[in-house]
């Protein structure tokens, strides 16, 4: 197979890759100018035809989402850019924003024209200080160059882009949690319907798209639908519901590998290829025991599932929740899955917004049960109890408003199913792996 030439990350190694001058030398904003002469609906149709699926985790068709906006709406219509990247293991959007902010801004500008929006808010997690500085500078450059503001390039199109910083809450990555947070409230996800396209930010029609999704929009408009569909995996012919997995994708690889990093590849690379060919293999000459396919909320692949293609369909077939953010975290064979699962549960318990009882209580109890197991006082029945709690929380069993809960349950369900023997051995051997660091953090 010929080596894949990165598109989204094509510019990141250039000196001053974040500056407007270099971006324009590389043809930047020419696509935006070209699209200003297009009918908005024609842009939406192209993005829909390209089969671009959201890169934030859910994989919903971006173009289709845009068509849900009411027709002939008097406005305002808003675009919210989801830059609250917080799924453990995920950092692809950070790289896009730090190193090529104009690529994102061009994607935003094209998208706003397509959805007839004149205001975009970038909801950026607070921890991304460098992203804030780079985007802030890039937005200023655009206003000064007449690429944002009133009557852009004499087209009659107005667009303002504002940066809005979060305050350290994972739930703001859920699109209606993000909207509530932007409105100045606690980030409690809303009951849907109405979906944001009908009633979103400030009760107006709103589209929420992920950073990487918007960057893809720019390239679809520049290179065409056929180009986008020539990359990735077409739908399975025997599955009419499969929308395929088209386009390039940023994969984050971290954990126990020799060369952690972010690589851009066609959708559908296997976990094994990612680890061996793009991350220098498992560290210290060890083997992988488990691999997170797309952020911890997607669950785990076991060592014999590493040939799973990481497209939108692959992880599902292996019992995972989905492709998620395509953040691959490798756990080596010297690490206890009990400790790994505890870390996942502690995160979800910390980040549950507390609105729905099954999630608030479920995440806390799963963490408590695993704390008991790790303190050497676990019982074999605890494993069934953990599974039962996990199976009763989330949108899939129908007990919560948002999918955070499914994401909290999935690693538990996968771990108990795929690594049950290890959990049983841990409990029956009376092992104990609580560390002084755990005790230090428990006091807080």
């Amino acid at each position: 197979m010929p080596k894949f030439e990165p598109v989204l990350l094509a510019r990141i190694h250039e000196p001053a890759s974040a500056a407007l001058a270099g971006y324009r030398t590389d043809g930047g904003y020419e696509t935006f100018k070209k699209t200003l002469a297009m009918e908005p609906d024609a842009i939406t149709a192209l993005v829909k035809d390209a089969g671009l699926r959201g890169r934030g985790g859910a994989g919903f068709s971006a173009g289709l989402k845009w068509t849900f906006l009411p027709k002939n709406h008097p406005g305002p219509i808003y675009l919210c850019v989801n830059a609250d990247e917080s799924e453990p293991g995920t950092f692809n959007n950070r790289i896009l924003m730090e190193l090529d902010p104009h690529q994102l801004l061009e994607g935003i500008a094209i998208t706003c024209h397509a959805i007839r929006s004149h205001t975009a808010y970038i909801y950026l997690r607070y921890e991304y200080g460098k992203c804030y500085r780079m985007l802030d500078a890039a937005i200023r450059e655009c206003y000064a160059a007449g690429l944002l503001g009133k009557n852009i390039q004499g087209s009659g199109f107005d667009l303002d882009v504002y940066l809005h910083r979060g305050a350290g809450a994972y739930i703001c990555g859920e699109e209606t949690g993000l909207i509530e947070s932007l409105e100045g409230k606690r980030a409690w996800p809303r009951i849907k319907p109405p979906f944001p396209a009908i009633e979103g930010l400030f009760r107006k029609p709103t589209i929420v798209n992920n950073v990487e999704t918007l960057c893809c929009v720019k390239h679809i408009l520049e290179r065409g639908v056929d180009w986008f569909k020539s990359i990735g995996v077409p739908p399975a012919p025997n599955n009419p519901r499969d929308q395929g997995s088209f386009g390039p994708k940023l994969y984050c690889i971290s954990g126990h590998v020799n060369q952690p990093g972010c690589v851009e590849l066609p959708l559908g690379v296997t976990a094994r290829e990612l680890i061996d060919e793009h991350a220098g293999g498992v560290w210290k000459g060890r083997k992988a025991k488990a691999v997170v396919p797309g952020g911890i909320s997607m669950g785990f692949l076991s060592a014999d599932e590493l040939d799973t293609p990481l497209d939108f369909a692959g992880p599902l077939k292996a019992g995972c929740l989905g492709l998620g953010t395509a953040a691959v975290v490798v756990v080596d064979d010297q690490t206890s899955m009990v400790d790994v699962l505890y870390n996942c549960c502690r995160f979800m318990s910390h980040e549950s917004c507390g609105q729905c009882t099954p999630c608030r209580e479920g995440t806390a109890w799963m963490t408590k049960i695993l704390t008991r197991v790790r303190s050497g006082a676990g019982k074999l029945e605890d494993l069934d109890l953990l599974y039962e709690v996990a199976a009763s929380m989330g949108i899939i069993p129908g007990t919560t408003i948002c999918g955070l809960s499914d994401g909290a349950a999935w690693p538990v369900k996968n771990a108990i199913k795929k690594f049950r023997g290890e959990f049983e051995d841990y409990i029956t051997s009376g092992r104990r792996s609580i560390t002084p660091a755990d005790e230090l953090m428990a006091v807080h």
Partner: protein, 157 residues
């Protein structure tokens, strides 16, 4: 005597034109006040509420949801140091790093150093997993740390 200086009030008012509703300025206003005073006191909440035409309880409700903001009596030190404890960092020793840093400086997570120079905290995923273990010092993330390099960053504050 108001708690918020004229300069802070101006900076908060400068956020208004970005949004159709003043309530959306809650987080920006809290950041502005928290950055300057290292905590948000009930009196400051009342003044933010006045500026935003809200009830103080609405500001309080939002503020306390985000554990980012410190309440009265828990003011941050001059600098804020966060050690990531989520999966990629944990797998590469961040919890031991936090423990060592805490022992070395005598500061427990969630507390300030005796000289008030810094607050030590743990964080959930900082999004710098390729450089695990990582640590955020104020607005800058530092990657691929070990006990020595992390301690040095704190000494240099």
């Amino acid at each position: 005597m108001p708690v918020l200086s004229d300069e802070l009030r101006e900076r908060i008012r400068a956020e208004f034109p970005k949004y159709p509703d003043k309530r959306a300025v809650t987080l920006p206003a809290l950041h502005i006040v928290h950055d300057a005073y290292r905590e948000v006191t009930p009196a400051a909440m009342v003044e933010i509420a006045e500026l935003l035409e809200l009830h103080p309880s609405e500001v309080s409700d939002t503020m306390t949801f985000y554990q980012f903001f410190k309440e009265e009596g828990h003011a941050l030190g001059k600098h804020r140091v966060w050690v990531c404890r989520s999966i990629s960092c944990m797998l590469r020793g961040s919890e031991e790093l936090l423990l060592k840093l805490s022992e070395r400086t005598g500061v427990k997570p969630g507390h300030n150093s005796a000289d008030g120079k810094f607050t030590l905290e743990f964080a959930e995923c900082l999004g710098a997993c390729e450089g695990a273990p990582c640590m955020l010092v104020d607005e800058d993330c530092h990657m691929n740390l070990d006990d020595e390099s992390a301690a040095k960053l704190i000494e240099q504050l």
